[in-house]
Subunit: 206 residues, 8 copies
Amino acid sequence: MAFKYERLDKDNVVLLMVDHQAGLLSLVRDFSPDDFKNNVLALADIARFFEIPTILTTSFEDGPNGPMVPELKEMFPDAPYYARPGQINAWDNEDFVKAIKDTGKKQILIAGVVTEVCVAFPTLSALEEGYEVFVVTDASGTFTPTVREAAWERMSQAGAQMMTWFGVGCELHRDWRNDIEGFGGLLASHLPQYANLMQSYSQQTA
Amino acid sequence: MAFKYERLDKDNVVLLMVDHQAGLLSLVRDFSPDDFKNNVLALADIARFFEIPTILTTSFEDGPNGPMVPELKEMFPDAPYYARPGQINAWDNEDFVKAIKDTGKKQILIAGVVTEVCVAFPTLSALEEGYEVFVVTDASGTFTPTVREAAWERMSQAGAQMMTWFGVGCELHRDWRNDIEGFGGLLASHLPQYANLMQSYSQQTA
Amino acid sequence: MAFKYERLDKDNVVLLMVDHQAGLLSLVRDFSPDDFKNNVLALADIARFFEIPTILTTSFEDGPNGPMVPELKEMFPDAPYYARPGQINAWDNEDFVKAIKDTGKKQILIAGVVTEVCVAFPTLSALEEGYEVFVVTDASGTFTPTVREAAWERMSQAGAQMMTWFGVGCELHRDWRNDIEGFGGLLASHLPQYANLMQSYSQQTA
Amino acid sequence: MAFKYERLDKDNVVLLMVDHQAGLLSLVRDFSPDDFKNNVLALADIARFFEIPTILTTSFEDGPNGPMVPELKEMFPDAPYYARPGQINAWDNEDFVKAIKDTGKKQILIAGVVTEVCVAFPTLSALEEGYEVFVVTDASGTFTPTVREAAWERMSQAGAQMMTWFGVGCELHRDWRNDIEGFGGLLASHLPQYANLMQSYSQQTA
Amino acid sequence: MAFKYERLDKDNVVLLMVDHQAGLLSLVRDFSPDDFKNNVLALADIARFFEIPTILTTSFEDGPNGPMVPELKEMFPDAPYYARPGQINAWDNEDFVKAIKDTGKKQILIAGVVTEVCVAFPTLSALEEGYEVFVVTDASGTFTPTVREAAWERMSQAGAQMMTWFGVGCELHRDWRNDIEGFGGLLASHLPQYANLMQSYSQQTA
Amino acid sequence: MAFKYERLDKDNVVLLMVDHQAGLLSLVRDFSPDDFKNNVLALADIARFFEIPTILTTSFEDGPNGPMVPELKEMFPDAPYYARPGQINAWDNEDFVKAIKDTGKKQILIAGVVTEVCVAFPTLSALEEGYEVFVVTDASGTFTPTVREAAWERMSQAGAQMMTWFGVGCELHRDWRNDIEGFGGLLASHLPQYANLMQSYSQQTA
Amino acid sequence: MAFKYERLDKDNVVLLMVDHQAGLLSLVRDFSPDDFKNNVLALADIARFFEIPTILTTSFEDGPNGPMVPELKEMFPDAPYYARPGQINAWDNEDFVKAIKDTGKKQILIAGVVTEVCVAFPTLSALEEGYEVFVVTDASGTFTPTVREAAWERMSQAGAQMMTWFGVGCELHRDWRNDIEGFGGLLASHLPQYANLMQSYSQQTA
Amino acid sequence: MAFKYERLDKDNVVLLMVDHQAGLLSLVRDFSPDDFKNNVLALADIARFFEIPTILTTSFEDGPNGPMVPELKEMFPDAPYYARPGQINAWDNEDFVKAIKDTGKKQILIAGVVTEVCVAFPTLSALEEGYEVFVVTDASGTFTPTVREAAWERMSQAGAQMMTWFGVGCELHRDWRNDIEGFGGLLASHLPQYANLMQSYSQQTA
């Protein structure tokens, strides 16, 4: 049976940002804090750049889990935002699911904290309902690399695709000519080593 | 063919704790001793918290493998307990299997030492008999990370799902509102970093 | 259903070298620079040794991505070479795909920078069109080992086979007697430890 | 479709030891030399303990690859032994395959150097012919852990099962009561940490 | 010039616990949370076991740094405790230094968070005043292993001695016969692998 | 001979930023690009916060080494800046040394790329001239951790002190009360995990 | 002041093997069990080869620490052997120290378990008494690499020299011509990779 | 006492290449084979570039240790070359030492295999005789990183300076203007990432 390559399509995808909260972030230890912050914000920038509908949710944000990180709130001031009263699997929150369904999109990008719970549970739920699910693995964090590997294995076995923010951005953009400066700027602001290439280039060709 | 997400269900699951014995534990080197002890006890606490039927078994406990660790004995004083006279695969012990079947549950949570034998063999046997099997990977230990990876690969290929104690607890709990204090206390006692969040929170909101 | 082992066949395979450009190479951090350079050149030597049709392509080579590394240009002076004007997935470049189809080969060897984009995207496209795809993983580089693992998982899930340059060379050669000196020389020039074996052997038997 | 657990069966399995040669062993860097030597000899001891038919083969043993390590020769003085004149995939050697078929076994245990070639190629060939193949991963070595991971992925994808010598021994033994002293002695001689448990036990119970 | 071995002397030593606060602990990533918690509590148990005068201090505990972890407060209810109003180097707090000097001890054991600041600064200050300083390295944590290495280098260069809680306990105890059960119990409660040895021993000799 | 603790003194220290150039930064592989960028900018922010005289220098900035990274230029628009015409050891540039001496400071903070050359050489030169030298190790990068360790060893042996930007900031600040908001803001902008603590705190106490 | 190179001298050195006991060995996790066993036995073989007086000691061998490993007892049947009744620092055992002094040697080789206690304490004591102390670091084991690093730092700071069994053997042998076959055999039996070189050599020159 | 910075001086230094033999190189596992080969050849190129007198020596080159690697022989056809008949410490070979002394140089650069023996022993001997010794750590290899660390510690304690080939080249060159193209070419041929910078630069400025 032939494989069918369903590419990420900016007109058919919704992004779910799950539980990137100030308290929960202190649990993330499979990425350095700098790297993880950068990865999360890079994904957020991608969503804005491609005008992808984005849905935010948090778990118990008034308790020790803490508030959603302010950068995300600021970047998505008008996005649907669901402070879940208790459901651990965000898919158990009817408002959240309704918001997804209301977008009419068939592809889901998802990232969250922690990977094996806040990402894996809604991923499995979404797969069951027929969505294509693309996990943004480097914008999702958890306790240890070993825990992460188990989470990836479970999600992959169920049919989710493991991606990273850079791959997501490139698959959505398709062609540099769609916006060279915009996309280049996005990469430069989240890849210091790419920014260096650009700076050397611009000086040397000046 | 659509994926079906069969969640861990506290009313339909049985936990198997296989060969967590004082001697065998000295063989476990893919986790630090502190981490591994914590993971095993966290899983045990989860079983008690959700009142999941739990079955214990040991291999040759009168020899160098040593006795089951006392904490588990104390936590499950009334649990079925099978000191296997020689079977390496616990599933070859008829009493053990009968105890599982008598629970009437269709989902199995399993953890043990060492992963590629004491966990993998009964996992494969249970899968063959139609059980859904969820391996609690971080409460299962073995000689090296490389050995662990091979064991995961074999079990996953056969259809078992790789989980961790934190994911198990969260998938069973479903909703914080079912018992906020109880579940929070469980997490705090096994996640020092989460306990810190709770302590800061309680002081700052005092 | 029985597994069918379709071996790499030097008469039925085409090699794609995607975006090994001077600027992009500075992004590769899942291999040491020495190791990666050696792996890429070893793959190139294999292609020349077995006279495998090879197709080169670059992305935006006049900008910060930089020119294709000169060693590859020199090794394949007559190979089809496509400086893509903007397409990120090389398979979106019609000339590139036409060149592949014109070879009439049914197997594709692919390597490139970065793995999750420049390798993964054309790999998925080629699989969709019915090609057998063999990814030369150690001649493909990316930001971190974690990113690499996600890329492998996605490509493998779709049916691509993960290989390395040494395995590719051996699977193509089939039998040392086809050319002992030639193949031995190829290995010696890219495996210092094998060259040492050969040198000790030749001295000791002199 | 239900999973079927075909256990390793000492009466239905043949062991293939491929290219454990003095020169080639210097290429193995995904295990320490002490660990790898121990793993290979442990597997050999298992074969002798369970009287599993064992077939040895080497590649170009008169050249830099060097002779088979003497310990294996001594342990299997009467085993079929094929010094291949050039075939890289041992399955391309008719005598070797005939020797396997003559055993009438349907399960294959395989280990060798290097993993992605000398193990992977015959593994894929054997799978194609309908054998069940169990790769003894820790008695198989290669250049780097990354190369190993690619080799495992390819073999696993094709249906081979990833095991280790300890798991193999335990799955074959089934029940300690079949030979407590013999099996315990085997473990003690290859697991220093298990030997320590046994020594403490015997002193303390003396 | 001969080396003089000044052993840790339980009658001549004072323990400083610096800034083990709920918030700051989330910064510690050179140890796993389980390991670090265990190390800190083991050191505290040692201080109580040997009745070593212990002095606690915190930095800005009403702000984001958070309160001292409750376990330490409970273990040392009567210890001098200095919530520093702003001094980063605890040695700049006159009350803290006076408390140290009032003990009349000439040896200092110190642990804290983070290593290169809260431990290193008072260590250097104490060395300047002629104290012998023993840094309990595994009860002191910081951002990364690289930061830790730099901190160790600086302190060691100045004359501080790098120790760990286990070494501290053993050097203070001198002879098991001073209290076999007490010291054995202390070790067992903080070294799961040692507890296992004790449990096997007690069962086998029962 | 008693140790003398000469603390970093904001009124007696000069910062040297050596060769943080766009091209050279692609050589740095002992830190992730995100981490390294953050470390360098954190050090720059510290210099500005404490108004420490800062001197910039580059090596061959018109060639492949590339221009100084623009962030540093922007942060220190009026700082002395020496584009060295060829001297590898910046101390061989008379203007650079004169600028240092003109500050009248006796303590030197230094960071640069690569550690064993651009940092180590001027460090050794400055030590020879009687300066106290504090190497900001995490704002200095090089090819591999092994190269870094050798560089640290050489500099430390000569009397330089190994520090990190966080330790430098804290040793300069001395007391939070000197500027709570300013220093807290500085930390929050370079330590995502500290920013999270502050955010949770401010919400919870709101 | 010039450095004086006092080489290890087989006529002026005594070897101390401290607490290599079956129970304690389960605590060693900074080496793999195979590697550590090999290192300890290699050191023992060196002592026998050079006829170095060797002194054995154990701590509480009737309890959970377990008996000295039988290989050492067998290799040194006539060596002084002190089962310490309680002293943690073996140097506190007068019989042990007297045995050392009775040898009249001025150089001490020491190895043991665990490094920061059983090795470090007598090392510091011996240094104080004017002995030259050479720590055989790879025949000494402890809980983690981090603990080991702290122990090395403390011992090195006091003047002990960090060595390994291979270096010890070579420094004692001085010249291959003193016994080519004997020394070569010793290396071959503990360095599988060297044994391979010898085997290839002997075959190729046969 | 002030530190004196004695820089490497191309007119006052001699390079010793000790035992880089085909057999012994198979023992080196603290660097990848590609990296190590590159490091050794880079050092050799440096010696030729600066016309530094170079002395070669081997140990038992007619036996399993194997011949000196041919690249070194070819690069230094006229260099003094001592095939030692048995001395392990090359400094025990009178001809070797005489050759060093005949150069009249006071600084020694040394590299070899294995680090703790072939490098450390002559390093300690040379220090004793008053030479300044600079160990080229990355052109010196051994069994494991742990063995390397012990060797560095011993040599550093005795006064040797730990360097790397890149640092050596830069300290010898002093100023790019002494030979921009020559030195740049040397770097480009041994630093693929630097070659990439140069290639991008030359294209972009063409």
